[in-house]
């Protein structure tokens, strides 16, 4: 057998989930359009997107609750459209948990084992082991309504994991929790996922969660996958203005392409020329474009000479200063950009350099930090 084809087979076998041109239409509403991606075994994928972008719909199709109206989903390389949900080895944590209220915590966790006909004698021991894994050892006898929100969450996780599924699906299970508990649970997910090595698809609209816990991120909007990338990559090199706007705090400067020099693009905006880096199929000269600069890439200083090593320097007036604890967000009105408000993060721990609304300031950034997208 030729080496190349053997190699291809190995790489195919390491794919846990493969979504091929999947679409879902509810009448006229196209909840998901032409979604395609591969997820390797053992990876943690987060689907990120605004409300109504089709995240839950995609997850429900993978779980088998809804059949795609087009395309096919493969799990462990087998097409699954004909497989009902109870025959798919998928564990799921629902947004509203969906724990069985008339059962105890232990009975909830034992339910998948009973339904999947595991050896009855081994069940109690296994249930206890998974309750311990989610740090609920000894809580098995409690009824669901006798547990706190975070504890219920962990019962739901144990129930989804106990039968060692091929795939774990999480549909915003953390959305209802307060911030502190949510961040704790995010790390908990990560720990458990690493410990068991189970392939996981997580849905959220919390960008922080997506960046913290995932190996890969998919950003969805309007039913379409906008980008699939590693978190760092999605953050640093967003594929389009939607992704740039959705993850992080980004300023957009609209203009037209004045000139191109390889990847470098000169953008004419409000009578000035700003230099940036083209992203994707960048526009031709004369085409409308948007330059995107992250709030944390912009330096702020009282005078221009403090910023003379930066490629772009603009003067402005502080319109608002918002104290956020670990950082201050300034909104600066920039006359050269048509009085646009530019958001800038400042966290200078040494000087506690602070500006007040009305102060004159200068803003500066490097050409490589402005991404230029086609409009």
């Amino acid at each position: 057998m030729p080496a190349a084809s053997a190699e291809r087979r190995v790489s195919r076998e390491s794919i846990a989930v493969s979504v091929r041109d999947v679409g879902m239409a509810f009448g006229d509403v196209h909840a998901v359009r032409n979604a395609s991606f591969d997820l390797p075994k053992g990876k943690f994928l987060t689907i990120l997107g605004p409300s109504g972008s089709g995240k839950t719909t995609l997850l429900r199709m993978i779980a088998g609750f809804d059949a795609p109206t087009s395309g096919e989903i493969f799990i462990n390389n087998s097409p699954v459209s004909a497989v009902p949900p109870h025959r798919r080895a998928i564990g799921m944590v629902f947004q509203k948990l969906a724990l069985f209220p008339h059962m105890t915590a232990a009975e909830n966790v034992a339910f998948p084992l009973k339904m999947r006909r595991h050896d009855a004698r081994a069940i109690p021991e296994k249930v206890e082991r998974y309750l311990q894994l989610v740090r609920l050892g000894g809580y098995g006898g409690r009824r669901i309504n006798e547990l706190s929100g975070g504890q219920q969450q962990r019962v739901a996780i144990a129930r989804a994991l106990v039968f060692e599924p091929d795939l774990l699906l999480l549909d915003e299970p953390l959305a209802a929790l307060d911030r502190k508990l949510r961040e704790e649970m995010q790390l908990e997910f990560r720990r458990i996922q690493k410990e068991l090595g189970v392939t996981t698809i997580n849905v959220t609209h919390d960008q922080r969660e997506a960046l913290v816990v995932s190996d890969e991120v998919i950003v969805m909007e309007g039913g379409r996958i906008q980008q699939k990338a590693e978190p760092v990559h999605a953050y640093r090199s967003p594929a389009n203005t939607f992704v740039a706007n959705f993850i992080g705090v980004t300023n957009f400067i609209e203009g037209v392409v004045a000139a191109r020099d390889g990847a470098l693009v000169s953008v004419a905006a409000h009578g000035r020329t700003l230099t940036g880096v083209a992203v994707g199929d960048a526009p031709a000269t004369g085409g409308a474009c948007a330059g995107a600069v992250r709030a944390e890439q912009i330096r702020i200083a009282p005078r221009a000479d403090a910023l003379d090593r930066l490629d772009t320097v603009l003067a402005g007036t502080v319109a608002d200063a918002i104290f956020e604890g670990e950082r201050i967000v300034y909104e600066v009105r920039v006359p050269h950009l048509g009085d646009q408000l530019v958001r800038v993060f400042d966290h200078d721990p040494v000087n506690h350099l602070q500006f007040s609304p009305g102060d004159s300031v200068c803003l500066g950034w490097n050409a490589r930090d402005m991404h230029v997208f086609k409009k």
Binding site: F65, P84, H86, A98, F100, H102, F111, P112, M115, R116
Partner: protein, 266 residues
């Protein structure tokens, strides 16, 4: 201060009046049943249990009571599967014409009982089964079924559709999902509905009157027949037994599912 006091006086006056009006018949009957005299009076003349002794001896009353229990049991046993399935179907699945069905279920309340009673008398009469007890049970079931369905629908609509999906995700095929998840979730409604059906069938008078003959009189009909001759305190005593049966049923309900679900059910 005085405003809120006079308000609470008004409210309490209403509450007490209502309680007195609601409980007066019960208290009168209860009092009259313990009389030592030979005619039904309130307040009773002296105290005795002799009329309870009398009804325990009266075989016709005893047999009528047993018949009523049988009728109530038949009605309940039939209504449990029918009402549970219909209630779940109406609450959970997109049944075609669900609205019309719900309105149709109101009909038994809008048609005078005498009307449906006569209808059933004709049907069962044609079938030649009048005189046995089961047609009475079925009739009670038919006219009271909406209560059962409502009790079940109330619990079933609290049931999140996610629960069944979660069960499917846990590997449960459809039948198991129904048995392990849906049924336990609607059980409080089923219990509430069954006890309600039992009490209603036990007390059912008008329809029974039309469907029974001399060999199959139920207790309410028997009491009615007795009133037409002489009113003796044994009727008060048997009424108390009746009230006690209903009270026991409600106590059972409270123990099994708690009364709040009953009070809350639509």
């Amino acid at each position: 201060m005085t405003g809120s006091r006079s308000k609470s006086i008004v409210i309490w006056t209403f509450v007490i009046t209502a309680l007195v009006m609601l409980s007066a018949p019960t208290i009168v009957v209860l009092g009259a049943s313990f009389t030592a005299g030979n005619i039904i009076t309130f307040p009773p003349e002296g105290l005795s249990l002799k009329w309870y002794g009398a009804i325990a001896q009266a075989s016709d009353l005893r047999q009528a009571f047993v018949r009523s229990l049988i009728v109530a049991s038949i009605c309940t046993i039939v209504s449990i599967p029918v009402g549970t399935l219909a209630g779940i179907a109406l609450a959970k699945y997109r049944v075609r014409f669900a609205r019309s069905i719900q309105i149709y279920l109101l009909l038994p309340f809008t048609i005078p009982l005498i009307g449906s009673g006569i209808g059933m008398m004709l049907v069962f009469g044609n079938m030649g089964v009048l005189g046995s007890l089961w047609p009475v049970g079925i009739a009670c079931c038919v006219i009271n079924l909406p209560f059962m369905i409502w009790a079940v629908t109330a619990s079933a609509s609290n049931l999140s559709p996610d629960l069944e999906l979660a069960a499917a995700n846990c590997g449960a095929p459809p039948l198991q999902r129904f048995l392990y998840i849906t049924l336990p979730a609607v059980l409080p409604g089923v219990i509430t509905g069954s006890l309600l059906m039992f009490i209603l069938a036990l007390n059912e008078f008008l329809v029974s009157l039309l469907l029974v003959d001399a060999r199959s009189v139920t207790l309410p009909v028997q009491i009615y027949n007795s009133i037409r001759s002489i009113i003796t305190p044994d009727l008060a005593a048997i009424s108390v037994v009746f009230i006690a049966s209903a009270a026991i049923a409600i106590a059972v309900l409270d123990r099994l599912v708690g009364l709040d679900i009953f009070l809350k059910s639509k």
